[in-house]
């Protein structure tokens, strides 16, 4: 059995990088992990969905609809688009920020009025985090990913510090690293204060760490 996590957003938001940080943190903790997405044309402002599977052993790389434990959405409508991947006990971490594409601006299609409300109406557990707003207050909207990962950290089957290390390892030790650390910690504090994830959420994970083969995972 595996812990399945979806990270979704639009091209250019850093969805793949965020998903990779989760996968590498799992490897560091001794799990096996896979990460996949369909890229290519989607990079041009299109839909991006990265799938991470974590477990003692992972076979297929694609998550089955109805079985994801966590959906991290960097954009409101994208959260709604992928919400059918969630398991009944799963939950959505949603940045309510809206990226309105030309296909909506030109009046051809409508943006959903209340993506979070629609998901709740379908009995989904939705935790909204104004990650972009928090990121802007720290200094840069691009820090939103680190806020979201910080908020997700306590729901994953490995120590929060592993994920924090993976987020920060890309930035060395300068100002950008400090900002990302602040963003991650802000997200984490928010999730703890709002009790997004009860403590037993971690224990409920079915995968168990394999031998620490991946502790030297690099590149």
């Amino acid at each position: 059995m595996s812990t399945d996590v979806l990270v979704v957003g639009i091209g250019g938001q850093g969805v793949m990088t965020a998903a990779e940080a989760i996968a590498r943190a799992a490897l560091e903790a001794g799990y096996e992990a896979t990460k996949t997405e369909v890229t290519g044309m989607s990079q041009r402002g299109g839909v991006v969905c990265s799938q991470v599977r974590i477990g003692e052993r992972v076979e297929a790389s694609e998550i089955r609809p109805g079985s994801a434990r966590l959906l991290i959405a960097f954009e409101a409508a994208e959260g709604l688009r992928w919400s059918h991947y969630l398991a009944p006990e799963g939950c959505v971490l949603l940045d309510p920020w809206r990226a309105v594409p030309p296909i909506v601006s030109s009046g051809v299609h409508q943006y959903p009025a209340d993506p979070a409300g629609e998901m709740r109406a379908a009995n989904r557990r939705v935790h909204e985090i104004d990650a972009r707003g928090i990121a802007e207050r720290i200094g840069d909207a691009r820090l939103a990913n680190s806020v979201m990962l910080g908020a997700a950290a306590s729901s994953l089957p490995f120590p929060e510090q592993n994920l924090r290390n993976q987020v920060l390892r890309r930035f060395g030790s300068g100002e950008i690293a400090a900002q990302n650390a602040a963003a991650f910690d802000a997200g984490r504090a928010l999730a703890l204060a709002a009790r997004f994830f009860p403590p037993q959420a971690v224990a409920a994970t079915e995968g168990k760490p394999a031998s620490a083969i991946a502790s030297s995972a690099s590149s």
Binding site: K35, Q43, A60, G66, H84, L86, P102, S105, Q110
Partner: protein
């Protein structure tokens, strides 16, 4: 530093890395001592060469097309250097002419053709199964299931290639190329100097008719040797299982899908899948009540087994297109046993607007598509790349997209087809710099030679943009960052036969000028080429300007700026107004996202009221 007791013997140099299948294939090639790598970018194959370019001791280049790349690899192999070429599935169609000859003349030093099939056609004009080339050209085909196998198979592929003097086809798919897993990697083999060297061998490398017969005989001998190799290859593996009701024969990433859904089933995993290990398949069939062949995407293994009188199921229950996922496989097996096709109810999808890929804010193509979308009386043949984006909203600017470089040939044929019609429509072809150099040039020479009245828009954005902004002969830089001669497109199209007066270079941000030139060239009854000269916004040459904003007191909600199609412009408020004439008009008031805006001024030029100004 604290004193730490060191083990007497150093551990073997094995690293665990988290790699995609593409990165892993590159790593395997590097460890096998590959010295030359040539490719043309294309999803999902692009990262293979990008990875190799960053590894020491490898000469790597973006060639102008896949055929050239394959020939570069062949030439390198002839000098005794291990070589690799990488491409997407449709790229191998372009390289096919040379590939067919290579099936006869073979190779000297190991040569691997890594081809990645876009199973599920997320960014391609079709879905094709590259394993057919193995049969057509008589090549061994390796099919990794994941990154670890992509690494190990690529490493070994060079030895197979040298042992049989044959190019090896490494067949990847999206869910190998773009899935990251842990891979145990090792060290690079020293390049074998004994391999190096070229000796003239006319009977081998000159494939004139008098040499063909001999090469066909040798190929038959090679086929027999490869069949022996596949029968004993460790890449073809039998996995026993307790449940003998249904056995599986599976190749590629579908292996993991079968293992997840049916962990107790006996299974034959094909790795060296061509030539087929028929005896192993027969053994599995004898052990199980029924056999299901699980392969992406055509029934190739299935048909070969049926031809060998081995009773199997396959595409009678599995779909003929797309990826095989766990639910797809479960449904197929349920159908096979006559059960209900759904083990579990699939959860309902929410209805959300489509979000197709779109042009970037400030893209120099936006102004071009803005005008093309308004030419209701013309036929516009598009091409592969960011021209495909011109098919979408709000421009709907293209009539056709066929294949790399096809816009010009198709446009010329339409002109000849319309000839004599009273209401013949003007015909345009739209192509980019890299695509033009890939396969557009011969068609333009033909247009000029035949006098086809096509207006060609050569949109030079100094990048192979759609695949990630790779360099090409028009960018002035090579893959390694060194300066290269920058090809002069105006001189090139003149040299291909277009009259100098009919070659116009324009700034695509100057909307009125561009439209004037477009109208002029469409009126002229001879071949003409309009070259636009602004770089891709994602390229190093692009210069961002001050962002723009909307002066609300000047905006009348006419929404013409939205026709530009820029993702930086969003609607604040919509309203329907009834005019005095009784006509109802839809109005929209907009704002410009400052963070996205590049200050290109296209929307300001589209605004009749001067309501869009520098912020």
């Amino acid at each position: 530093m604290s004193a730490v007791l060191q083990p007497a013997v150093a551990p073997p140099t094995v690293n665990r890395e988290f790699l995609s299948g593409n990165e892993a294939a590159a790593r395997g090639a590097w460890e096998a001592g590959v010295e030359i790598a040539a490719a043309y970018p294309g999803t999902p194959s692009t990262e293979i060469l990008e990875t190799l370019a960053g590894l020491a001791g490898v000469y790597a280049e973006w060639s102008t097309n896949e055929k050239v790349a394959l020939e570069v690899a062949l030439g390198a192999s002839m000098t005794g250097r291990r070589a690799i070429t990488a491409m997407k599935h449709v790229g191998l169609n372009v390289a096919a002419d040379t590939l067919m000859t290579m099936g006869l003349v073979g190779v000297k030093a190991g040569l691997v053709i890594a081809v990645s099939d876009d199973v599920g056609f997320s960014s391609s004009q079709n879905e094709q199964d590259s394993r057919f080339w193995g049969r057509f050209v008589h090549l061994p085909v390796l099919e990794p299931a994941d990154a670890a196998e992509a690494y190990a198979m690529t490493r070994e592929a060079f030895s197979i290639s040298e042992r049989h003097q044959v190019p090896v086809l490494l067949r990847l798919t999206t869910r190998v190329s773009h899935v990251k897993r842990t891979v145990a990697t090792g060290a690079r083999e020293a390049a074998d100097a004994m391999r190096h060297g070229y000796r003239k061998d006319a009977e081998r490398w000159i494939i004139t008719p008098n040499h063909v017969g001999k090469r066909i005989e040798l190929r038959a001998a090679r086929d027999a040797a490869l069949a022996r190799e596949t029968a004993s290859s460790a890449w073809n593996r039998f996995e026993p299982g307790a449940d003998s009701r249904l056995g599986f024969i599976v190749s590629g990433p579908a292996y993991h899908v079968v293992r997840e859904a049916f962990p107790d089933a006996p299974l034959l995993k094909l790795g060296l899948s061509h030539p087929m290990p028929l005896d192993a398949a027969k053994r599995l069939a004898a052990l199980t009540e029924r056999v299901l062949v699980v392969e992406e995407v055509d029934p190739i293994v299935e048909n070969e087994l049926k031809a060998a009188a081995i009773p199997v199921h396959g595409k009678d229950v599995l779909p003929l297109q797309g990826e095989i996922t766990v639910p797809v496989l479960e449904n197929a097996v349920a159908r096979l046993s006559g059960g209900s096709p759904q083990r579990r109810t699939a959860p309902l999808k929410a209805a959300v607007f489509p979000r197709p890929p779109t042009l970037c804010a400030g893209c120099p193509y936006m102004g071009v598509y803005f005008w093309l979308g308004q030419l209701k009386d013309a036929v516009i043949c598009g091409d592969i790349g960011c021209y495909t984006l011109g098919c979408g909203e709000p421009w709907n600017a293209m009539d056709s997209i066929i294949s790399m470089g096809a816009s010009l040939g198709v446009a010329h044929g339409m002109v000849k087809g319309f000839a004599g019609d009273a209401d013949a429509k003007p015909v345009l072809a739209v192509i980019g710099d890299s695509t033009f150099l890939h396969t557009g040039m011969p068609a333009l020479a033909n247009i000029a030679y035949q006098g086809g009245n096509v207006t060609v828009l050569l949109l030079d954005n100094r990048a192979t943009a759609m695949t990630g902004g790779q360099d090409n002969p028009g960018t002035g830089q090579r893959l390694d960052g060194s300066a290269a001669p920058r090809l002069d497109f105006a001189k090139l199209v003149e040299a291909l036969g277009v009259r100098p007066e009919r070659v116009r270079v324009v700034d695509p941000y100057e909307l009125p000028t561009f439209f004037k030139v477009l109208r002029e060239e469409m009126k002229v009854p001879e071949p003409s080429v309009i070259i636009t000269n602004r770089p891709c916004v994602l390229s190093r040459d692009f210069e961002r300007r001050r962002p723009l904003e909307v002066r609300d007191d000047q905006c009348n909600g006419c929404a013409r700026c939205l026709d530009v199609g820029c993702p930086a412009i969003t609607v604040r408020r919509r309203e329907s107004q009834k005019r005095a004439s009784g006509k109802v008009v839809d109005l929209a008031w907009v704002r410009i996202e400052r963070a996205l805006c590049t200050g290109c001024d296209l929307c300001a030029k589209a605004c009749a009221r001067g309501a869009i100004v520098a912020a």
